[in-house]
Each structure stands twice: as structure tokens, then as C-alpha cells.
């Protein structure tokens, strides 16, 4: 048992339960759970309850939910969980830009199991939520220190909603100054897609700058795009490539010179903690994804928090309510005349705030810096090892130090063998690693893959990861069909090139699938 010490490879097979769709296990009459009935005295007093529903609104056809006993429901979803490769069970360097760091169990258990967090209502009186308010207030101050900015909101339910909140604040800021010409937002191609999509949703026209051969746009390209129509620039730094743009303050200065604001997408700030901040680069706003840098688990894509910070001149536009402290009591302030209002119900995902608060409290200033340093060290170590693998290259600034992540390319492998990055991506799970993430669209780097070996991974983890990619490269040169036809050790086999978008094939629910299948059979000859 154990890895082969000479190759560092393990013999792996994903759990495969051949699990049916939940509807296929329905047995009429079975019950998954019994629910509370009203007491007899209540029934005697109000009757069956449902007679009070106007006839036009009564449900007359019972829903066609499946009927399944509890043990089978539990087993089904446990099987599905085993057919899912969460970060807890693998070396998740794969999902680059996403900072798949360890989410400490202690904070998870308390946040989910303590009734003082799980069983509290958002509209309870402030006096009954003092613990939660204290956490929010203090976390705000921690992030102020980490960013150098003056005030944070935790209302956005994710990073993209954070960017949308920033765009809303920027819109309100210019409107409040009576500056109605500011209709454009400038971003860069290697910034996250939400840095263009969310401001566009807020009504802005988007200008996207392309990278030069260093991996980021020239300052002059930005200057050419800036004008008195520019509301803001939305940029990431380092971008998805892990390359830090050393001229970032010149970008900010150029934008400020035309009266635009500067939004710093720091969804992933993992290599920067205690090293460099939004403030010193001159930014007006930024956001942190608490599920990336600050250890909240990713939860099958949420929920989480996009914590948006800004300079004090913009703080009046932040969403309501805000948490204040009068020296004795913490309280929610709901009134704010300039506020953009709300982007999400209540105040976001407070259970996530507790987790990030706990994470920072465990590490302190030195620990945060250690996390940043080790994530950058890991990334440089990984790059050195990966560059030794036949077929791997780094497109931009290959000779420069990257920070916490890196975008690689299998272009040479593809040219040599016909095996592309999607093939390698499918194959790697056969060795017990999560499929790596390739790139946002459109791909600028050919045959891309993006890795982020954050501080949670040991040197041994990195070595195993490299060994798997080395093995797949070898397979591609020696037996390319093995890689192209992957996966082989997974729950299911390869999905052929998609016909999934054809209207007659689209099936996003079981009922839609059954209808379309029946229709397809009807039209079959004979």
C-alpha cells in the first residue's frame, strides 16, 4: 500500500456507486421523514387548516416528488458525496485563482453547530445579537488593517456580487457629484470575468485592455482608453497569471488624473497578506473573497462573502445596515441617505464572517504573513519543477517571479502529441487529483492551465502533484490515446463533444429529460 516511492504515484480509483437519479428509487408509500402535526385541540379549533385557502389557490395535484425511506435518502447523498472530490480529500492545487485552502474544522463546527450562530434570526433586537455584531465589527477592523482602506461591508454573497456592489457605489458616487458623463469602465483581459460583467450589469460600457508581452497592459494603453467618460478601472493584481504589475500605481494615478475611481479586485489576496495593500497602491475600493483568502469553505459554489472595502470618502455609499459601536453596545445603523441600499437580504452570510474572524484570530499578523510567504514560496517551487516537464511552458514573464498562482501552457505538448489541456485535465483525476482549472474565457494563453499551491500544501504534496503531471506528459508522448480517452478511473466516462446545447436535448431537470427522451423515441422510425 502507499505511493510508489520512485514515482510518487498512487493506485487510485474514485468511488463509483452507479447511483441512479433520485426519482428512480421512489417507492410509492415510503416516507423519508415524519413531520409534526398540529395538536388535537388545535385541530378541533381551526379544522384542517387548508380549507381556509381560497379554492383558486389550493394545490389539487400533489407534487411528484419521489417517495423514499430515510436510510436510502441518506445513502444516496452519501454516495454522491463520495463521488465528489472536495478539497478535504485531495491535494487541491488544481483550482487556480480559487485559493483552495484548508478550512479549519474547529471554526466550521462552531459556526454550524452552535445555536448562538445557527439558530439566530437576523431581525432579532440588537441587544440579543451582541456576539455576532462584535464579530462583524472586529472583522471589519481587521480587513481595514489588511487593506489599508477605511470601511468594509460584508453584505455581498460572493465575489462577483462584491464587484457589483463596487460598481453600484461608483455609479452612486459620480451621480452624487452630478457627473453624468461617466459611462465607461476599463478592465483587463486577465481580470476575472465579473470585473467586466458586473459593472456592465450596473449600466457601464466596458473597455477591455489586452496584455503586452509582459502579461499586463502598457500604461500608455490605459491612458489612451481613459477619458472624462471613465467612471472607474477594475483590475486584479496579480492577475490570473500570478504576475504582479509593478506599475500599478501609475495606472491608478492615470485613472485618478481623469477623475475616475480605482477598484482593486483582491478576491484572491493570498500572496499579499501583510506584504502589500490596496492603500499603498492608491486604490479607492477593493474586495476580498472570504472563501478564498480567508478560509471559508467553497461549499459547492457558495454561499460566501465578497467583503467590499473603500476609502472614507466613499463609505457613505456602502449598503445598509452597518454595524456601529457606541462604546458600550454594538448596533445596526439602518439610516444612510447616500447608501446604495441593499444588494442582498439582511446582512449577507454571517456564519462565514465567524469563520474568517476565527481564522485571522488563530494566525495573527505573523501567521497571515506566513500564509502569504508560504503560498508564494510554494508557487515558485511548483513552477521550477513543472518547467522541467516536457510540454509545459509559461507564456508571460517566464523569467520573472510569480506570486501565488501561475498560468501554464501545454501548447508544446499539444503540438508534439495532439494531447491538449482538456485531455490532461480529465486524466489527472485518474491519479486522485482534482481536475485542474484551465482558464477563464476567452483563452489568451493556448492550452492553458492555472495552478495555485496555497499555503495549505506541503512540499510532499507539491512533489506528488508534479509527479502526476510528469506521468501524464509521459503518457501523452508514449500513448496519447490513453490521455485523450480519459477519464478511466472515475465515476463515469468521458462525455462526448456536447450536443447538450441543442434545444431538443437540453435537460436541466429530470422531468425535462423524461419528456425529451419520450419525444425523441416517438420520432424514431418504427
Amino acid at each position: 500500500m502507499g505511493r510508489d516511492p520512485s514515482t510518487l504515484l498512487r493506485k487510485y480509483h474514485q468511488a463509483k456507486w452507479d447511483e441512479p437519479i433520485i426519482f428512480e428509487m421512489s417507492v410509492p408509500g415510503e416516507r423519508g421523514i415524519l413531520v409534526r402535526r398540529a395538536e388535537h385541540e388545535v385541530q378541533d379549533e381551526v379544522g384542517d387548516g387548508v380549507s381556509a385557502i381560497p379554492a383558486s389557490l389550493r394545490r389539487t395535484n400533489p407534487s411528484r416528488l419521489p417517495e423514499i425511506n430515510q436510510v436510502r435518502v441518506l445513502r444516496h447523498f452519501l454516495h454522491l458525496s463520495q463521488e465528489t472530490m472536495g478539497t478535504d480529500v485531495t491535494i487541491d492545487i488544481s483550482q487556480g485563482t480559487c485559493t483552495m485552502k484548508y478550512s479549519p474544522k474547529v471554526q466550521e463546527h462552531i459556526a454550524t453547530r452552535h445555536p448562538g450562530m445557527a439558530e439566530i434570526h437576523p431581525l432579532q433586537p440588537d441587544s440579543s445579537l451582541q456576539g455576532l455584531l462584535e464579530v462583524i465589527y472586529k472583522l471589519d477592523h481587521f480587513l481595514r488593517e489588511i487593506s489599508g482602506l477605511d470601511r468594509f461591508t460584508f453584505q455581498p454573497g460572493g465575489g462577483a456580487q462584491g464587484v457589483y456592489t463596487g460598481a453600484s457605489i461608483i455609479r452612486a458616487y459620480h451621480a452624487a457629484r452630478g457627473d453624468t458623463k461617466r459611462s465607461e469602465v476599463i478592465t483587463t483581459m486577465f481580470s476575472h470575468p465579473c470585473d467586466s460583467a458586473a459593472p456592465a450589469t450596473a449600466g457601464f460600457k466596458i473597455i477591455t485592455l489586452m496584455p503586452d508581452n509582459m502579461g499586463y497592459p502598457e500604461v500608455n494603453a490605459l491612458k489612451a482608453a481613459l477619458s472624462d467618460r471613465t467612471a472607474a478601472i477594475f483590475v486584479t493584481n496579480p492577475e490570473d497569471t500570478g504576475i504582479y504589475n509593478p506599475k500599478i500605481d501609475q495606472y491608478v494615478q492615470a485613472a485618478h488624473d481623469v477623475g475616475a475611481l480605482c477598484y482593486y479586485d483582491q478576491a484572491n489576496a493570498n500572496g499579499m497578506l501583510g506584504i502589500a495593500r490596496a492603500k499603498e497602491a492608491g486604490f479607492d475600493l477593493c474586495h476580498f473573497n472570504l472563501h478564498k483568502t480567508f478560509s471559508v469553505p467553497h461549499q459547492c459554489m457558495g454561499g460566501s462573502v465578497g467583503a467590499v472595502g473603500c476609502r472614507k470618502e466613499l463609505a457613505g455609499f456602502l449598503p445598509v445596515p452597518r454595524v456601529e459601536f457606541d462604546g458600550q453596545q454594538y448596533y445596526f445603523e439602518h439610516e444612510a441617505s447616500e447608501s446604495i441600499g441593499k444588494v442582498r437580504s439582511f446582512f449577507g452570510n454571517p456564519q462565514s464572517l465567524l469563520k474568517s474572524y476565527a481564522w485571522i484570530m488563530q494566525l495573527g499578523a505573523d501567521g497571515l504573513r506566513e500564509a502569504a510567504e508560504c503560498s508564494v514560496l510554494n508557487n515558485n517551487y511548483l513552477e521550477k519543477k513543472l518547467k522541467e516537464i516536457p510540454g509545459v511552458s509559461v507564456r508571460y514573464s517566464a523569467d520573472k517571479r510569480k506570486l501565488e498562482q501561475n498560468r501554464y501552457s501545454w501548447e508544446k505538448l499539444y503540438q508534439d502529441t495532439g494531447v491538449g489541456t482538456e485531455d490532461v485535465m480529465r486524466r489527472m483525476a485518474d491519479y486522485g487529483l482534482q481536475h485542474y482549472w484551465m482558464s477563464h474565457h476567452p483563452w489568451v494563453v493556448p492550452e492553458p492551465f492555472t495552478l495555485e499551491p496555497c499555503e495549505s500544501y506541503s512540499r510532499d504534496d507539491l512533489d506528488e502533484y508534479v509527479a502526476v503531471l510528469r506521468q501524464i506528459s509521459k503518457e501523452a508522448y508514449e500513448n496519447p490515446e490513453l490521455v485523450r480517452s480519459a477519464p478511466h478511473n472515475q465515476v463515469v466516462h468521458k462525455v462526448p463533444e456536447p450536443s447538450i446545447d441543442q434545444p431538443e436535448r437540453i435537460a436541466v431537470t429530470w422531468r425535462q429529460y423524461l419528456k425529451k427522451k419520450a419525444k425523441a423515441q416517438d420520432v424514431l422510425p418504427g
Binding site: 407534487s63 441593499k342 465515476v491 447538450i500
Partner: protein
């Protein structure tokens, strides 16, 4: 004892020897050599001013539990607050599944290694589809308010119109989110309500609807709890004017109350916190949008959609992204609105909840809520000075008016705290036309004794307090 920097359990390479060896391996003399791309003037010069860390796990646990002990919770207190976040029964199996590390820590993995996640999210859509009697759902949204806001934008894109009619009784949370999300192109027009029933004023609807109207958004059950008896007629009026009829609903009611599609909605939306999520001070909110199976609607969803398909393996189900270029992941600013990390784990949880409940569980839960909330409303309105604000049928929530008690809701709720009771949501700020009124929420978690306790406490507060 040495005060040297500790080796952090979550940072394996913080072992000094390992770190030094790795630095050597990458050809760096010092860790800051790796940061050479960051110019000196952009570096943070000092040490972050943060509290001293609590390094050991036990002490951290004590610290966190001490903080949470400062919160009053709804286990030790009797809670009648709802207003969009409600205290419902959460089956143990829901917590068991969403606590599994594989689901808890999964993210955007492909449909092979993460096949189980894809299937669970497909089943969430499928189960919700049955409850709503609709064919098409996407991955979940941030919350019900976002679902309403995106439904409005979908309707606008479908009709190429920009005016949306909303009820005056709309949830204030939804209203605030909509007001921001509709900028800069959309306008919201309020339709008043009948003071006796709370129902949408159909005459006013008829006078305000026009060929500019993109959608009529109706909440049913409404924020104030009452049921919109004339929902079907309202839908017909919308459709006669070429507008979309969007119904915002609470899925927990759908075992006993007709699904929006049964009375004419082609877009339904809402928040599914009620289906297995703990309240978590609002952290259990999660949104859904469902539509009929028509490409005119399907292509307007903004979030990821997982479709079931075949693999090269005989008889295997596989999954894939449907119409990926719709999304901002596929097309940046040319995609539909924007998408991102939303509430996937709550969708998995809702799938577990609905699988456990089945048709009978949903029907019985709906019936219990109807019975308990009617019992509470009857008993409470018998207290001198308290009246039901609306004479209409309701689900789960209802409005009590306290004008005749000569006490404000704020005073009453403060007094109720002494009985360990969280009284209903004070409506006097958001709905001044309702006077001193309060929105009470009674779910299947409330027993006769709970309600009787509230009744006697309120009596005392009003008569003697």
C-alpha cells in the same frame, strides 16, 4: 519558553528547515527575493496591527463560544420573527449531508471527479421543478431578492420593455435590492393594496399597466402573509398587455398551495431557506428561478445550468454545462448579467430536504403551518386591543395591529424580551399606513403551548406592562 514564531498547523511549510530548503531550491536567498516584482514603495512597511493570535485550538474554541454566548438564540427563546427568514424544522439528515467534507469543500471541479456534486445540483433543480411544476431551473442564486431582481431583468430582456409593476406590500428587503439592481434602465411602479384584505388593487393595476410594462411581480404568499386570491386574474391582465407575470413564492407552502405555474406564471422565483436551512442570522438565504420550457426563457437565465447527458460508457448518465456562453464566465460582459459563487451547498441541502419530505411531507408541513398560524392568529386577535390587520386568508405569517393598545410595537417587543419571546417584525417604519402593526410568523416548529405562552405574555404586557 521561547517566543519564536510557531509552526502553524495549517501551513505545513512553515517548518523553518523546510522553508529554508525550498528557498534554496528556487534560488532565493530570502523570502522577499520572491517578491522582487513589488517595488519597495508599494510594499507595506510595517507589521499588521492585529490582535495577538490565539494559537491553540482549545483556547480559540473557548473564545468563539464566549462570543456566541452573547447572542440570544431561538432555542432558548421563543421566536415569532419571519419576514423572509423563518424558523423551520431542519431534518438531521440535511445537516449530516451538508457537513460532509466532500460537499463542504468542493468548488468548480468538472463533472468527472465531482460527478456527485453535479448530480446533487441536477437533483436540486429536478426536485424544485416538481414542487413548482416547471421544467427549467438554473443553479441557485444568492437569495430570493436576487432571484426577484434577475427575474425582472429576464422579463425585460424577453419583452424589450423596462417598466415593472410591484405591489406596495412587497418585502422591504426585496424592494431595496430591486431598486439598486434596476438601475439605470428599469423603473419600478408601485400598485397599492386593499386596506381590508391586503390584496393587490386590481383597479390600480389596470390603470397603470401599459405597453411599456415588462412584468407584473406578485408575491404570493405576500410579504405580509396574506394570499392573493386573484392571482390568476392578475396574471391574465399582465399577459393581455404582453407583460410577463412573475410570481415570488415561498416553496414551503407548495404542498398545500398551488404552484405559480398553476395560475399562469411563466417565471417563478423565491427564496428556499425554508427547505432545510438554519436561519444563521440570514446566512441560510438562497434564491431560485424557474421557468417553462421555452428557449425564449431558457436562454435568459444568468447562472450556470447543469444538463444531464450520455457518456461514452454504456447506460451512464453524465453532466455538462448548458448554454455556457449565456453566462459571464463564457462571454464576460456580453453574458446575461453576471454570475459567480452563490449558494450551491444550500441547493444540495434542499435536494436532501425535498427527497426526505416527498409529496406527503410537503403537504403535511403545509397543513401544520396553516393550522398553527390560524390558531395563533385567532387566539392573539382575541386579546383586547389587538386586531388582525387584514381579513383574508394567509400562510405562515399575519399582521397584528396594536393601535388600540396605546402601546407601540417597539414597547411591546421590548417587554416581550423579558418573557424570552422575540415578538413579530415591527412594520411601523416600512408601512406607516398600517399604524402600530407587527408581522408574526408561526411555522410548524411552534406548538400549542408556545402559542399559548405568547398569548398570555402579550396579555400581561398589554394589560399591565
Amino acid at each position: 519558553m521561547s517566543q519564536a514564531k510557531p509552526v502553524f498547523p495549517y501551513i505545513p511549510n512553515s517548518v523553518p528547515q523546510v522553508k529554508a530548503e525550498m528557498l534554496k531550491e528556487v534560488g532565493a536567498g530570502d523570502i522577499m527575493d520572491l517578491y522582487e516584482e513589488i517595488p519597495e514603495h508599494l510594499r507595506f512597511p510595517g507589521r499588521l496591527n492585529l490582535p495577538d493570535p490565539i494559537l491553540d485550538e482549545y483556547s480559540l474554541k473557548r473564545h468563539l463560544m464566549g462570543l456566541l454566548a452573547k447572542n440570544q438564540n431561538c432555542v432558548d427563546n421563543l421566536n415569532f420573527l419571519g419576514a423572509g427568514c423563518a424558523e423551520h424544522f431542519v431534518p438531521a439528515v440535511c445537516d449530516e449531508i451538508n457537513g460532509r467534507g466532500e460537499f463542504l469543500t468542493a468548488y468548480v471541479g468538472e463533472s468527472y471527479a465531482d460527478h456527485g456534486k453535479w448530480q446533487a445540483l441536477f437533483e436540486y433543480c429536478s426536485l424544485m421543478g416538481e414542487l413548482l411544476d416547471m421544467d427549467v431551473l438554473s443553479c441557485p442564486l444568492y437569495d430570493g431578492a436576487q432571484a426577484a431582481a434577475t427575474s425582472v431583468r429576464m422579463a425585460s430582456r424577453i419583452t424589450d420593455r423596462y417598466e415593472v409593476l410591484i405591489p406596495r406590500t412587497l418585502s422591504p428587503e426585496l424592494r431595496l435590492v430591486l431598486q439598486n439592481y434596476c438601475q439605470p434602465d428599469h423603473s419600478l411602479v408601485e400598485i397599492g393594496f386593499d386596506r381590508q384584505s391586503g390584496h393587490l388593487n386590481v383597479d390600480e393595476l389596470n390603470s397603470k399597466i401599459s405597453s411599456q410594462t415588462a412584468a407584473v411581480l406578485l408575491e404570493n404568499p405576500s410579504y405580509l402573509g396574506f394570499l392573493e386570491d386573484e392571482a390568476e386574474d392578475i396574471g391574465k391582465i399582465a399577459q393581455q398587455h404582453g407583460a410577463e407575470f412573475i410570481v415570488y413564492t415561498d416553496p414551503i407552502c407548495l404542498g398545500v398551495i398551488a404552484a405559480p405555474s398553476h395560475y399562469g406564471a411563466r417565471i417563478a422565483c423565491g427564496d428556499f431557506q425554508s427547505l432545510g436551512m438554519h436561519m444563521q442570522a440570514g446566512g441560510g438565504q438562497c434564491g431560485f428561478i424557474a421557468t417553462v420550457d421555452d428557449m425564449k426563457y431558457v436562454r435568459e437565465f444568468k447562472d450556470l445550468m447543469f444538463g444531464i447527458t450520455d457518456t461514452v460508457g454504456e447506460g451512464e448518465y453524465g453532466f455538462g454545462e448548458v448554454l455556457f456562453d449565456r453566462t459571464s464566465y463564457g462571454s464576460r460582459e456580453k453574458g446575461k448579467e453576471y454570475t459567480g459563487t452563490t449558494t450551491g451547498l444550500w441547493a444540495v441541502t434542499a435536494a436532501v430536504y425535498l427527497s426526505l419530505m416527498g409529496p406527503r411531507g410537503m403537504e403535511e408541513t403545509g397543513r401544520t403551518i396553516m393550522q398553527m398560524s390560524q390558531y395563533a392568529a385567532q387566539r392573539l386577535s382575541q386579546i383586547g386591543g389587538i386586531q388582525l390587520a387584514f381579513q383574508s386568508s394567509f400562510f405562515k405569517e399575519f399582521v397584528l395591529n396594536f393601535d388600540k393598545t396605546n402601546k407601540s410595537v417597539a414597547q411591546i417587543n421590548k417587554s416581550l424580551l423579558e418573557y424570552n419571546i422575540f415578538g413579530g417584525k415591527d412594520l411601523s417604519n416600512d408601512f406607516p399606513e398600517l399604524g402600530q402593526s407587527s408581522l408574526y410568523c408561526v411555522t410548524e416548529t411552534k406548538t400549542k403551548r408556545d402559542i399559548d405562552t405568547l398569548v398570555s405574555a402579550l396579555k400581561e404586557v398589554i394589560e399591565h406592562g
